[in-house]
């Protein structure tokens, strides 16, 4: 998407949100490993190629970092999303499908800064709503997205075990 930088003065720190760079990818992989316990180098490299390497108005891969200070961690979090249209009959809508915040940086407005930045990108791309999907048991993520004003949407996710 655009080469945007959002400088956000949160309650306790100053954050910068900017598009991901190739040098951030090892840190994205490390942060994801820290959270999920899985190393997915190929997946994140492909995510970079798809969402950041090519300039596209409808795709965003953003990272948050401490602005103007030496942070102990290179990035404090990242968020990825894209505008999708007409899947399941849905009008164009922004989808957030990855959000991760460094555990030591939580409760400092990092997730909120990332979510607000990608929401602004979606709005600039011309969509009026943002959507995500969260595991029912993931109280942390559910509570976060709820606190950002997200409510149950018009779709229900269904699935089935294949025999």
């Amino acid at each position: 998407m655009a080469s945007m930088t959002a400088i956000i003065t949160a309650e306790k720190s100053v954050l910068a949100v900017r598009p991901v760079r190739p040098a951030d990818i090892p840190h994205v992989i490390a942060l994801d490993k820290q959270i999920t316990g899985l190393v997915k180098r190929e997946y994140w490299q492909q995510a970079f190629e798809r969402y950041a390497a090519r300039e596209a108005r409808d795709r965003s891969f953003l990272v948050a970092e401490a602005h103007g200070t030496k942070s102990r961690t290179p990035i404090l979090g990242f968020i990825i999303g894209e505008v999708r249209a007409w899947e399941f009959g849905s009008a164009p809508c922004g989808w957030v499908f990855a959000l991760s915040v460094e555990p030591r940086a939580r409760l400092r407005g990092v997730g909120q800064a990332l979510f607000e930045a990608i929401s602004a990108e979606f709005k600039a791309a011309g969509v009026r709503s943002v959507r995500t999907m969260v595991a029912r048991g993931n109280r942390l993520h559910l509570a976060f997205f709820r606190s950002e004003g997200m409510m149950a949407g018009p779709y229900l996710q269904l699935e089935k075990e294949l025999d």
């Binding site: 655009a2 945007m4 930088t5 959002a6 949160a10 602004a120 559910l142 709820r146 606190s147 004003g149």
Partner: protein, 151 residues
């Protein structure tokens, strides 16, 4: 979904007390505001006090103050103080033992699961934001945040 009256009273009372600025209310004052019995509200407040969500302030201008964590206390935390969520033993044992009974239990369990996930993800802070949004007619911005966009 139906909630027991005690759960509803508790949620209203907590939202009233937890909204900034810090405040305290006497039971009679709150009971009158919401049109519920003082006796019922007093019982609810005692349960909330035992759970550490409110504390009683003694004296002529006494009442209750919020003492919980608005960003950590969820609607589910509050409701479970007063009732067990779930579809309950709705069938007879004979019905329960049938394939139809088991299938229906499975569907009801799915609904219960979704209800728990929803109520467990909405904190008092999120509820206060929703109330604020209803009041203002649009999403309110936090006064402590300043966002500068540069391109």
């Amino acid at each position: 979904m139906k909630l027991q009256i005690s759960s509803r009273i508790a949620i209203f009372a907590l939202l009233e007390l937890a909204a900034p600025p810090p405040r305290q209310f006497a039971v009679a004052e709150m009971a009158e505001k919401y049109g519920v019995s003082s006796h019922h509200l007093a019982k609810v407040m005692q349960v909330l006090a035992r759970a550490g969500l409110v504390r009683a302030v003694r004296g002529a201008r006494g009442g209750y103050q919020f003492s919980g964590n608005v960003r950590r206390t969820t609607l589910l935390d509050v409701i479970q103080l007063f009732e067990n969520l779930g579809s309950g033993p709705a069938f007879s044992r004979a019905m329960e033992a049938t394939d139809a009974g088991r299938a229906l239990r499975e569907v009801l369990a799915e609904i219960d699961d979704i209800a728990r996930a929803t109520l467990g993800s909405i904190t008092l802070a999120t509820m206060l934001k929703l109330v604020d949004r209803r009041r203002n007619g649009s999403q309110s911005e936090s006064a402590v945040r300043q966002v500068v966009m540069t391109r």
